[in-house]
Subunit: 287 residues, 2 copies
């Protein structure tokens, strides 16, 4: 339901901005390639849980999907993971060209901050700034970008232990998922204690999500993944299953989902119920 | 004077953030490679001209230099302009590697928004948001990133006229220079009429700056440029001298500097005097 609204917003949010046509096509090619819209839905839901009309924060929530999309485009580049396929279609630089893919990513990242700063709906500017800072910090060089740098560094090495893997994933994928949750609460002006609980939820489902992703890369099918099975192992990536095996990885994902549910114990209502169910849903994909 | 303070701030602004060491080295390699720090100085000066203590907006002003630096790193990439040299040293991807250069750029761009959002000094959050939005809009897909996309598209073509060249440069280099001026005025809470005058100044010196840059690419020396003379022509770039010749290009730059000075006619004091002198200084580099 909320994912469909996000989809509708994403379909039009780049229109009428005066973007050169080919660049806009490249940005929309990846932005509108489907996906679960997990991060915006998290942001909308925590905003709702802390008292806002979720729809009032749509530009902000959608902006996080722009950031997620840019990261996929740049991660797929020849100099990075060199992936030809993304969600069953040619990756951005294969569909367009490398320069256009770099610029499409740069454009999505920058425009995301424009969307965030433009959120209206009577939300105090101080709340918007606090939420924006949470996102910039999670997406930047000590968050997602730093995690990707570590991922490149770790690929092909055999001395990476579970602690290093966890830190890398907490930066590379966890930080953006966590901040999606925190941003909604900050936009809603939630008190510090509530923000902390929401942050705990976000960190736990972020961890669960990554473990599940690693498991699916070994056990999923190509249609489900949109890319060849086992591509992590082929690229020499360290994964949870490669360190722990499938069964212990599954148990670890379930443990994280349980932690997530516990973090939201103080919250009631439809959005809180949805977020609790979501935590289990993430793990059920591999159970 | 202000440039030295910017330099000092830039030297420490990435420290202690938990950035993976190699990534931080790559970011600082390009960020601390010298340069005139034109954009931060413009932001500090217009903030001062509209009543703020310039030093109170330093994180914001410095952030614009991070954005400028990221754009240079990505523009130099093999898939883009494929430049081996920048300011007389190996370009980022030559000094490190291509993946690191892409991530260093991504990190600088994202961290810039973190710096902008962190500006304190009692500046109202609404002013910060307005200024941040000006920067995101100028740097994004309908500004700097879009201009670079057009530049790639125009390279090697012989059907680009002066109007197209002007639009491309207004996006690629003009927008960030203009927004550096506007952001300072918005942070200072200047009235709309003053913001408009400052915007006019910024647009005019942005245009002058680009024309001068094109002229220097033909008439400068390698030591001054930090790269081979004539590289624009060699790459098949359309430039002001290639369309108008050197003399008419010089006259056009002077015309823009004069417009810039006129835009500031209503402003008095040290910062306004500095900005007027700066407009002429830009043109004097090629006179």
């Amino acid at each position: 339901m909320q994912a469909a609204r996000v989809e509708g917003y994403l379909a039009t949010c780049l229109a009428g901005r005066g973007i050169p046509p080919r660049l806009q096509s490249a940005m929309e090619y990846s932005l509108l390639a489907g996906g679960k819209r997990l991060r915006p839905v998290l942001c909308l839901s925590t905003a709702g849980m802390t008292g806002l009309d979720p729809m009032s924060v749509m530009p902000f929530a959608a902006a996080i999907e722009l950031i997620h999309t840019y990261s996929l485009i740049h991660d797929d580049l020849p100099a990075m993971d060199d992936d030809d396929l993304r969600r069953g279609r040619p990756s951005n630089h294969r569909q367009f060209d490398e320069a256009t893919a770099i610029l499409a990513g740069d454009g999505l990242l920058t425009d995301a901050f424009d969307l965030m700063a433009s959120v209206g709906g009577g939300i105090p500017a101080g709340h918007v700034l606090a939420a924006l800072r949470e996102v910039s910090s999670a997406a930047g060089s000590s968050g997602m970008v730093g995690g990707q740098a570590l991922d490149m560094d770790y690929t092909g090495r055999d001395d990476i232990d579970l602690a290093a893997l966890r830190t890398m994933h907490a930066m590379k994928t966890g930080a953006l998922i966590r901040c999606s949750c925190v941003a909604g609460a900050l936009l809603g002006g939630a008190p510090a204690s509530a923000v902390e609980q929401v942050a705990g939820y976000g960190a736990a489902i972020g961890a669960a999500f990554q473990i599940v992703d690693d498991i699916l890369d070994e056990t999923g099918d190509e249609a489900q993944l949109g890319k060849p099975v086992g591509s992590d192992v082929e690229q020499g990536k360290v994964t949870y299953p490669s360190l722990l095996g499938i069964e212990r990885s599954r148990a670890l994902a379930q443990e994280q989902a349980d932690i997530a549910v516990t973090c939201l114990a103080d919250f009631e209502g439809e959005d809180a119920d949805f977020l609790r169910a979501l935590a289990q849903y993430i793990v059920d994909r591999v159970s």
